[in-house]
Symmetry: C2
Subunit: 210 residues, 2 copies
Amino acid sequence: MTNKRSLSEEPRSYHHGDLRKALLEAAVQLIEARGLDAVSVREVAKMTGVSPGAPFRHFATRTALLTAVAEEAIDRLTGEINLSLQAAADENPLLQFRAIGVGFLRWVFANPTHFQVISTRAVINFEGSTLRQRNDVIRTKMTVLMQQAAAAGLLRTGDVGRHQIAARALVYGLGRMYIDGQFPSWELNEREALGESIVILDQFISSIRA
Amino acid sequence: MTNKRSLSEEPRSYHHGDLRKALLEAAVQLIEARGLDAVSVREVAKMTGVSPGAPFRHFATRTALLTAVAEEAIDRLTGEINLSLQAAADENPLLQFRAIGVGFLRWVFANPTHFQVISTRAVINFEGSTLRQRNDVIRTKMTVLMQQAAAAGLLRTGDVGRHQIAARALVYGLGRMYIDGQFPSWELNEREALGESIVILDQFISSIRA
DNA sequence: ACCTGAACACCGTTCAAGT
DNA sequence: ACCTGAACACCGTTCAAGT
């Protein structure tokens, strides 16, 4: 808040100190308030008090702006998953694997619009960013835990790699069904949705457990 | 093709005979060729050879146009599922339930952009259309089959309703992961994706079978 | 170095006027 | 009844010009 403006003047000039950051914050606000489609570079510029062309000094395209939002978002998602993993640090590998799913679901249901930004490829530049690598960190953890679970004889039958994809598709599907508005169809209101989703995950975990 | 134009004239006038249909076809072409975001009412009008305002005589908004596309799409999806169900007519309820999933996956992997139109609520008017009812037809079938499977002692433990949601979330998640470009992460190329997805579904079905 | 503000080629949507 | 074509208020993006 208190930076480069040399003296006590109104914040009316074109010095934000950190326009980049201000633009990202405005974009997040706009997503939260009016949805992903409502995010226009011009509106974000207006909210930040700069001219329509100014954001392009910091983000080459609208996609680049939203990709930056997605990178922030995936960091927070990873954080939530790590919290959940820590809380399960003393459990067996299968329950740690489950904890990843729980962390994912918690974050998605608490931050639906951020999940939308991460998961909707049309709106971000997944490859030309750090998103793939950040995603891979989580996936690698899942793989390791699944293999440990198999090695420890915790799993029933079936292919381990496919159990892993199934688990991923299950929680991803639950999250997408939520943001795609498919839960009302299933006679679940949104308040129960997270709890139900965790129960469903647990039932899946049970069904693959030895 | 041969209708209201009274005599042999160039099709240059504003009589398409069925402009509504022509607009829908153009929209589908555009989605197929350049993706959902590329669908603008103006472009669809241009492809059909009419003025920018003409489509609004048939579809009140861009959303209404895409909702009509979605209604067509869900009919084809239902058709594919029914085909799959017929092929499994002699099987037990659990395998018929599986057949719904297989039909869904087949259709999604063959028509990814149509699936995107159906599933992306932001772009269509789900409630103000017949989409919910058409969706309910399939869901009701799933519910009936699941209950029959339970009654016939075909299921292992767990809550039947939750197995049903899990199955739905699993195939929905696989479909969305596909159109969201998440399969490369899982070291699956797109050609193998359908086959793998069916194997994963089968593994899930196995895990809930008695 | 960073931002302004005009400009360009697009949008969705409306509506008087034409046939 | 159905379509045209101009108009309005928006877009994303570029770029000379200002500070």
